[in-house]
Subunit: 142 residues, 4 copies
């Protein structure tokens, strides 16, 4: 499968943060994971709280591991809370099922990684991330 | 950013416990964490139960790592329970999202640490802690 | 059994830190646990690294739980490393078996708690702690 | 104490990776933590194995939490293996005590964060990281 390169990962992060500034959001933190769920790149803006790495990671990690966007996970959590709680259990508490966890797909529709954004409201996090992903010609599933 | 000194941390604890005596609260336990979420000082009053360190720590730790006061975390937990449960997961179960976890800010508005108070009702814990923080000229966000 | 009061715990810490200044040691961190191994009080001097709470706790906790001073634990670790490693395992990795973990005993010889000191060399940590304990009329087993 | 900015963190990483290319090292992964041990930025070069985030993090995290460079931790591990193993325990297995974990200090000598590098030999990792840190006018303690 196509790998997400470090160059592309950094471009996604740069564009996401630029969108955040454009939207006048609170300081954002953005992570990019590869298709195996492993950290490729991360940046936490000045002024973001110390725990934002963990939250960004949780959003992206759940998306990759389940093949479900943050929005889809949240819908599931609201319908069947105990299921998402159990899913979180088998993944060692590492999943955060809310918007801001975005699957990244290439032209063929294959998942090549995920982006996790946190810092503002979940919905704004997702908007900024989608802009970042689309800016490099990839497709996001938020 | 300004560090919270040991002297200031102890003054906050002393004043918080004094307020607790003034309000005739149950025995209190008070922790002060620095801006990175690391323990600076702690005192558990005689008669307080053995587990109070963990609870005081959980209140303050969640506040620092998320940049959200205990009151704000509780509001979020009531709106979106699975989100706060997931957040607790990525922080290894160390977050207790209720009043009594207070962000401490300096004159410029920067977070320099957090105070966690437990022992009476959460609301009374928070009142005592705010008195402690204000007594040293700092601002609390409860 | 006699409880170690908050007043006594704070006096031990104060005297330990004063001894550290007297001996011109690096910034110290001092914890006092009660006879059940639960945190009573803690202070981390300015300039001490963020992880010092965990190390001070580990020294005192091993002492209380095993009824063995840090010095005795170290001797055991050097003779039978796998045993102390296993002991650490059953206590969730919370034991640090080196000098600086001091059992505190009252006049009757009963253990009423433990003190953990860290920041300088283990031997100097223990010397400062013994001074702190003896200054309040208690007996230390280092 | 001075915060390490995202801009500076990225510059350190860029310069470290450039040094790695100059030295013809294997693909490197570089993390920057702030003074509280929290992730500020990270990059994993293409071709680096999936687990490199954890190793880079472990090197930098141990350095910050203990206030000891990777080289100093390794020396301690070689003299007193059970001590470093126990230290790893109290930090949840998150400490990797070898060269490549470098404390970052500002002009006043205060620790403002740490850099963790992994991918080639530990010694080469450390050389690349020192070049990265010095390129932004900061001091590294490897």
């Amino acid at each position: 499968m196509a790998e997400i390169s470090l160059r592309r990962a950094k471009s996604i992060i740069r564009a996401t943060l630029a969108e955040g500034r454009e939207m006048d959001l609170k300081p954002l933190s953005v992570i990019v994971l590869d298709a195996g769920g492993h950290v490729k790149a991360f940046e936490r803006e000045d002024g973001a709280s110390p725990g934002r790495f963990a939250i960004a990671h949780g959003k992206a990690y759940g998306a990759v591991m389940l093949g479900m966007s943050g929005g889809a996970q949240m819908a599931r959590a609201e319908q069947q809370a105990y299921f998402m709680a159990a899913v979180n259990g088998v993944f060692g508490g590492q999943v955060i099922p809310v918007p801001g966890g975005i699957l990244v797909k290439d032209k063929k529709g294959d998942v090549i990684g995920a982006v996790g954004i946190t810092g503002d409201t979940s919905d704004n996090d997702a908007i900024a991330g989608m802009a970042g992903i689309e800016s490099v010609g990839l497709t996001g599933d938020a």
